[in-house]
């Protein structure tokens, strides 16, 4: 104890049930010294934000493979803004088409890490933002 840890919420919103990627990222972040709160499947944006608040996370990492990213992700960002928590970094991974990345970033998603991204990239990105 005695030092501040980076706390990350790894969440899977919506109907998508494939969580191997999310778990891989969660473990990589843990191995990099972060505290990872993994909340499992089928989370609503409201649940994600409420959990992020209670756990005082620095980062929310959302994993979506179902194609619902353009609805669910901006909703998370919007809820954070409404509740004065825009300081929480929101990143995502999963199946996100190239064309949608710009739109997501405009909506407030800080970075998108698609399939095949080395987990070290995600770790370094988060650390650079803290």
């Amino acid at each position: 104890m005695g030092d501040k840890k980076i706390r990350v919420l790894v969440a899977k919103p919506g109907l998508n049930g494939h969580d191997r990627g999310a778990k891989v990222v969660a473990r990589a972040l843990r191995d990099a010294g972060m505290e990872v709160i993994y909340t499992g499947l089928h989370q609503t944006p409201e649940q994600i934000v409420e959990t992020a608040f209670q756990e005082d996370v620095n980062v929310i990492g959302v994993s979506i493979l179902s194609g619902a990213h353009l609805t669910l992700l901006p909703k998370v960002v919007q809820l954070l803004k409404e509740r004065s928590a825009a300081d929480i970094l929101v990143i995502c991974g999963g199946i996100i088409p190239e064309d949608d990345i710009q739109e997501l970033k405009k909506a407030g998603i800080a970075e998108v890490f698609g399939p095949g991204t080395p987990t070290a990239d995600i770790v370094n990105y988060i650390k650079s933002k803290m």
Partner: protein, 336 residues
């Protein structure tokens, strides 16, 4: 930082979480806020839930939360998971089983890593209990993995300690470590539909050396209700002693939960009617106070020493010029 205390008393969830973070990182900024919140704490009922990994504690806690919410209580949960001693990181996954409560304003759940310091964890947990108490949570559940000394430490902060076991965890009798046996007020045999549940119950009963009533319910049998007058037999003429109760549950099927929460209530009533509740509160306060005093003394002394001085003593100890006790006396002599 007075502001954070006010925000907490005003119901701000994020402020609660931020103060817990400060407490976990042992920030001195937390002390002022904790001082303010102290007056507003002391109302919550604290229940420790411990037991080996794989016994279904998180699922059980999820059901306990549900039952307390039905009974009109607000609930705070502290879920502790091990921190990796190598990376310093942790995968905090207890919350997965409790997510149905995540948007219920009457429930606050916080995941905590052990962070490698026995005393540190107990302190962070205690301070967090106080924060949730002041925040207004009436029932506070503290979940730990009961494999170490830390869990026994945390049990000292609880009014009621629940130990969760499951049948078939290797040699049943050996699986129940002595320390845990002594701190348990209520023993839960979860996954009671598995083979060996009755055997485990009798073994537990024998080990506890009591004639406790076993409350069991399966999906087929009818519930055996606790006796209306839950009078405890004295083992000595003038002493009322709580006989640990054994409860069978199947958490994932929501079986045995009402009986468990009723048993916790019975324990609370026992503590109140025998004066043990006030005694426990005093014990808890004393332990906390002494820990803080010790820590302050240590900090005071170490601040006044240079690294060189300490290294000098270590050198003398390693080369056998001084033994550790004499070295400590020499070191402290300057403070006398």
């Amino acid at each position: 930082m007075e502001n954070i205390a006010d925000r907490i008393l005003g119901g701000d969830v994020r402020a609660v979480a931020q103060l817990i973070t400060l407490v976990e990182s042992e920030s001195s900024k937390a002390v002022k806020a904790l001082s303010i919140l102290h007056k507003h704490a002391g109302k919550a009922y604290i229940i420790g839930i411990t037991g080996p990994p794989g016994t279904g504690k998180s699922t059980l806690i999820n059901q306990i939360i549900k039952e307390y919410r039905k009974r009109g209580k607000t609930v705070g949960v502290i879920a502790v998971d091990p921190t990796s001693p190598f990376s310093g990181g942790a995968l905090l996954g207890d919350r997965i089983r409790m997510q149905e409560h995540s948007t219920d304003k009457g429930v606050f759940i916080r995941s905590m890593g052990t962070r490698g310091s026995l005393g540190g964890l107990a302190k962070a947990a205690n301070d967090t209990i106080k924060i949730l108490d002041a925040f207004g949570k009436q029932i506070i559940l503290v979940e730990t993995v009961g494999v170490g000394q830390a869990e026994v430490e945390i049990a000292k902060s609880a009014h009621t300690t629940v130990v969760v076991e499951v049948p078939g965890l290797g040699d049943d009798v050996q699986a129940i470590k002595a320390g845990i046996l002594e701190i348990g007020d209520i023993f839960v045999i979860n996954k009671a539909d598995r083979d060996g549940a009755d055997k485990l119950a009798s073994e537990l009963e024998m080990m506890l050396d009591i004639g406790s009533t076993i409350y069991s319910t399966t999906q087929d049998s009818t519930l055996r209700a606790p006796p209306k007058n839950f009078r405890l037999q004295s083992i000595r003429k003038n002493e009322n002693v709580w006989r640990p109760v054994i409860i069978k549950t199947i958490a994932k099927d929501d079986v045995g939960i009402i009986e468990l929460v009723d048993a916790i209530q019975k324990h609370f009533e026992y503590l109140k009617t025998t004066g043990r509740y006030e005694q426990r509160v005093r014990e808890i306060a004393k332990i906390e106070f002494m820990e803080i005093v010790k820590q302050n003394i240590a900090n005071y002394i170490f601040e006044k020493l240079s690294k060189g001085e300490i290294d000098g003593f270590i050198e003398k100890i390693v080369t056998r010029q001084l033994d550790p006790y004499s070295a400590a006396d020499k070191l402290l002599a300057k403070f006398k």
